[in-house]
């Protein structure tokens, strides 16, 4: 049965999932790259928060800017130093490359942090708002609000700043970069860096609401893909709505089929969407990301 509490839980989780998808959607929409390593970026963001909390007692929410900075630098360097070399190659090559990066990042993380599942539990973790029988934990509520805030900031950045407009323009043609007088390679690197930074923020938020491990990346990548497909590619609002829907899917999937099937439910939904409506439920086709590949 759908209970109001489950719907609340789903929506609270959905904000974080939307943020996971947002950076993925940006990179796909603008660079036409399916970044399989996206889930690993989320994982690294989560571990930055975990580490800062565990070693120095930094509040997990305060570590978000640090996660974003670390991942922006990492993302920028990866795009600049590696992916820019093959960005015009066929889909197979960029898929392999980012898949290889994902392996590399997760095996490094495994060496470093071992395979243990960890979690971040700040002292205020248990406090919550109570409305009769309904419960809204402060931590979950904060993740939703922050996720919405970061989404709004990205939207403002893309819509209102010159750099943001140049980034959007590169999705349609390659002259956008000239508007702000920087090279296409830099625009791509900045875009990829921003996508990674958002993944880092999402990872920090994931760390406070879910257990984390070095191998958590793969399921977040597929989730991000599923949300993009559902919400329509390269569409900020679409990522948000898709994220909220998958938050509900996650909660109800776990309730109905058992927690072990949570991923399988996401994959099954993804397959059904792909087969029935590959252009997405909400979106139309975004430039560069056609099904023709």
């Amino acid at each position: 049965m759908l209970t109001v509490q489950q719907i609340i839980n789903g929506l609270l989780l959905g904000g974080v999932l939307a943020l996971v998808a947002l950076g993925f959607s940006l990179v796909w929409g603008i660079l036409n790259i399916i970044n399989i390593a996206h889930g690993s970026f989320v994982m690294i963001g989560a571990f930055v928060t975990y580490w800062l909390f565990d070693l120095f007692g930094v509040d997990p929410f305060l570590s978000i800017p640090i996660s974003m900075l670390v991942l922006f630098v990492l993302g920028y360097a990866i795009q600049r130093g590696i992916i820019n070399w093959v960005v015009r190659a066929p889909a197979l090559i960029t898929l392999l490359l980012t898949f290889g990066l994902d392996l590399l990042l997760s095996s490094l993380a495994l060496l470093w942090w071992k395979a243990d599942v960890r979690s971040v539990n700040p002292s205020y973790g248990g406090s919550r708002i109570q409305f009769g029988t309904l419960v809204v934990p402060y931590v979950q509520l904060s993740t939703l609000i922050l996720a919405l805030a970061i989404t709004a900031l990205l939207w403002l950045f893309l819509a209102r700043t010159r750099l943001g407009q140049a980034i959007r323009a590169t999705a349609y043609d390659h002259t956008g970069a000239k508007v702000v007088g920087i090279s296409l390679g830099s625009i791509y690197a900045v875009t990829f860096g921003i996508g990674a930074a958002i993944a880092g923020a999402a990872g920090s938020l994931v760390a406070v609401v879910r257990p984390i491990s070095p191998t958590m990346g793969a399921s977040y990548t597929v989730l991000a893909f599923a949300i993009c497909i559902l919400g329509g590619l390269g569409n900020v609002a679409g990522a948000l709505i898709g994220g909220l829907i998958f938050g509900l899917v996650d909660v109800f999937g776990a309730a109905w089929f058992g927690a072990g099937y949570a991923d399988a439910v996401v994959f099954a939904i993804l397959l059904v969407i792909l087969l029935l409506r590959p252009q997405g439920i909400l979106g139309r086709e975004y430039s560069g990301g056609t099904a023709e590949g």
């Binding site: 290889g100 590399l104 590959p278 099904a291």
Partner: protein, 330 residues
């Protein structure tokens, strides 16, 4: 147009025979048949593993190399084959051979069924759909109590290693011979035409949906057989091992390295890369996964056309190599 610019140069043209290649491969085959005779268990074990990976790479080659559909769920067929043998032998008490046949047929049937809708997708969409399907199969195996859920399936200890060595080698030979036959048949012509331009193939009368589905099913069949042999060989079947999604990328890189869309390229690539992986595992227990990952990245970055591309460029190789590097750059 993008497809034209990105044409891979391959070791062997897709639809021609090379007698030298065949003489060499028969010699190698004779050598391989002789390996277990000197009683060295290490090499028997290592080579059996490489044969399995080579079958997977060759299986991917049919849908990915010949047909041009970037399947990322090949490991799903391997796991499905492994679980078929596991369930048939442990639950139903079947002998090994009929179980192995089922391990080929079941993935083929499943591939034929999902192939009809899934092969309408292209590019990224097809890649992720196949990846998700492979992962979903693994998740299912890991949760379904009938197949042992997370504790997997255990089989009784089977015949000595040499038995599995020869069976796996036979599956590999089957995969190569099947690919060779396909490459020179109507089917092979249809697949390459689909890869190069699906619509142009269709208006010339090629039933693209039928041939793509056939390629997908054959690819699943060969890979499932390898999984079936692997299952009985290792006697313990765990979903995370037989559905290890990280191997999807390894075997595609192997096929690319040796030459996708050629008969022997993927096998050569598998021997090189999996052999290297084995050496790395021996030398750097902790870091081998990282080093291997880096090698895979370097291959994708610098040799997207495979070794064949390098050889085909001949003398002016270095200059062409640099030019190729710049071709996809921004």
């Amino acid at each position: 147009m993008g497809a034209n610019a990105s044409r891979r140069r391959s070791l062997l043209p897709p639809i021609t025979s090379r007698s030298l290649g065949w003489v060499l491969s028969v010699l190698v085959l004779i050598l391989l048949v002789a390996v277990p005779l000197n009683g060295d268990d290490y090499w028997v074990r290592v080579l059996t593993g490489i044969f399995a990976v080579a079958v997977m790479a060759e299986g991917w080659n049919i849908i990915g190399g010949f047909t041009g559909y970037a399947a990322f769920g090949q490991v799903g067929w391997f796991g499905l084959g492994a679980y078929t043998v596991g369930v048939a032998m442990s639950r139903w008490g079947w002998p090994f051979w009929p179980s192995l046949i089922a391990a080929g047929l079941l993935p083929a049937v499943v591939a034929a069924l999902i192939g009809v809708p899934i092969l309408r997708l292209r590019g990224h969409y097809f890649a992720i759909a196949t990846l998700a399907f492979g992962i979903a199969l693994g998740e299912l195996a890991n949760n379904l109590r009938y197949v042992g859920a997370s504790s997997g399936i255990s089989l009784p200890i089977g015949p000595p290693f040499a038995f599995f060595y020869y069976v796996m080698l036979a599956v590999l030979v089957l995969a190569v011979v099947a690919t060779w036959l396909i490459a020179r048949s109507r089917l092979g012509y249809a697949l390459v035409a689909i890869r190069e331009n699906e619509q142009a193939a269709a208006v010339l009368g090629v039933n693209t949906a039928l041939y793509k589905t056939a390629a997908f099913a054959i690819s699943a069949l060969l890979t499932g057989l390898a999984g079936g042999v692997q299952a009985y060989w290792s006697t313990s079947i765990y979903a995370p091992t037989v559905f290890d999604i990280t191997r999807n990328v390894d075997l595609i890189v192997m096929a690319l390295l040796g030459g996708a869309g050629t008969v022997l390229g993927p096998v050569v690539g598998a021997f090189l890369l999996d052999g290297l992986n084995e050496q790395l595992t021996g030398a750097f227990l902790q870091w081998h996964a990282v080093i291997f990952g880096a090698v895979v990245l370097l291959i994708v970055l610098f040799l997207p056309g495979g070794l064949g591309g390098l050889v085909a460029q001949g003398r002016t190789g270095v200059r062409n190599f640099l030019r190729d590097l710049k071709a996809f750059r921004v």
